[in-house]
Symmetry: C2
């Protein structure tokens, strides 16, 4: 689903990754992180797709919300296992959404 | 590939879309738009993945580069055909990347 974010400005965390061949625990972790992120203060939505490259964009009210999510204990464990097992490369970009526009309903 | 962008700040255009069942011309257009974007002044890289949801993030030096790309004649035709044929929904978000960090080479 296209995230139904509120009017700009808000923040995006663009997480781009390449996987290793280690699959154990990955799917459960990915599902759990989406579930857990959605419970955090300031969470606005998430969009995700993977072919060879995986892209997950999560949306947040402000930088403080992102900082708190990054420091979440269960998320820290996932980040650590990501580096040791699941990802060969990743990049995280923190960006301020200044403007948005769309087409089609209901996610305008 | 994870885009090897320069040090922040720079800009991201996050384009999230859902497809219709019309496939004619879509693949060729998508390939051509990546090729054409890469020739534009200020282009820094692009990342793309699609499952049900498609996410394409292109990176740009500044807002002027994004504005010029949006107004590119061949790109305008693709945007128009996207609305009439290929996409049931899309959302475009213009965001300023304030910070980034990564793991693994070579795309740190």
């Amino acid at each position: 689903m296209i995230a139904a974010t509120p009017p700009a400005p808000y923040y995006a965390v663009i997480f781009t990754s390449l996987r290793t061949e280690v699959d154990e625990g990955y799917g459960a972790m990915a599902d759990r992180m989406v579930e857990l992120a959605a419970q955090q203060p300031g969470f606005l939505g998430v969009e995700s797709a993977r072919e060879d490259l995986g892209i997950t964009v999560s949306y947040w009210r402000d930088l403080e919300s992102i900082k708190a999510w990054k420091a979440n204990t269960e998320h820290l464990v996932a980040q650590q296992t990501g580096r040791s097992d699941w990802y060969s490369q990743y990049k995280t970009r923190i960006a301020k959404v200044e403007r948005d526009y769309g087409f089609g309903s209901p996610a305008l």
